[in-house]
Subunit: 213 residues, 2 copies
Amino acid sequence: MSDVNSVALPTVRRLPLMLRHIQEHIAAGDGFVSSSLLAKELQMDPILVRKALAATGVVGIPRLGFPARELERSILAFLGWDSMTDAVLCGVGNMGRALLGYQGFEQYGLRIVAAFDIDPDLIGKRINRIEVHAMRRMKQLIQKMTVRIGILTVPADVAQAVVDAMISAGICGVWNFTPSKLIVPDGVVVQRVDLASSLAVLSHKLAALSAKQ
Amino acid sequence: MSDVNSVALPTVRRLPLMLRHIQEHIAAGDGFVSSSLLAKELQMDPILVRKALAATGVVGIPRLGFPARELERSILAFLGWDSMTDAVLCGVGNMGRALLGYQGFEQYGLRIVAAFDIDPDLIGKRINRIEVHAMRRMKQLIQKMTVRIGILTVPADVAQAVVDAMISAGICGVWNFTPSKLIVPDGVVVQRVDLASSLAVLSHKLAALSAKQ
């Protein structure tokens, strides 16, 4: 696949869905997939699909399309999902517990190897086989396990302090499930999942719909 | 607050975070909050904050700022979070189970009142006090309970069929946690949460970072 720095974020966002459709074609026994078929299945502009497929570096064959397995391999490698990346999770509240219990991350190459909390009742427990450790051991364990990704599910008012500790231990990718905006140094990336915002937009769209009717 | 149709989606997306900060000020005993203080706390452009506050319809007082409780009430009402909205959840797999177990939705006015699945081992069970019913009873129960919001956590390949059934039962707001793009009629709104896309962007940013170093 192309140099990672040359691929635009909207293209990256589309890759997981494209990958899933390509994998469905492979499961159905198709050796090749065409960009026009993918565009139709994904209800996506054919130009955007061709752009994303071009970024994989895989060469299509006229009238046949793109070799499906090569596309799959290229996208998996580009996303880093062809190998497992370890992550730690901080904050075993409702959201943290939900994510620890979710078994779907491994298909995306993400394996949560340890969780941290300050609640003595939780420390030493296992959720979905993942042990909860005392927060004060976080730095030492992250360094020992050389983990780069941290999932942040602590209460919003301690989010910045916990992320500071994560970063000082070596975390350079933060998946932020808290509503807090985090301040991080250069060389650290943050990606936020804001369920409250998403729900706000849904509520708003529904209200707007009712107002129109 | 203003007419719901006149407020832009980016403003709506910012409201939950603003609300949380306003609530923190109320908890700290502050009667008023200023737009400049909020802008600083939220690391947001002061113009955007003033725009969002203007949309609440609450009038600020020079040198004092905006009355905090009035702002809170107005935003809660605008988002529909001042009263509980019932929702059903379809698909009690990993993600569905995680969301049923998550206790954080009630603060956003969302109460999951029933879950549906086809697995006989799950039907009749309760997760976080929410009963799992047989999928074939979905239409009848949604109609009986007059629920408008459906949370979709089924496998991607049945997502369209299940959402069609939801809509025929009266659901008009769909919170889509599947990677599928859904086709819905006019009068139905869909809001998608795509964890795979979010993780893809994080992986990509991390890879781009490593490539730069």
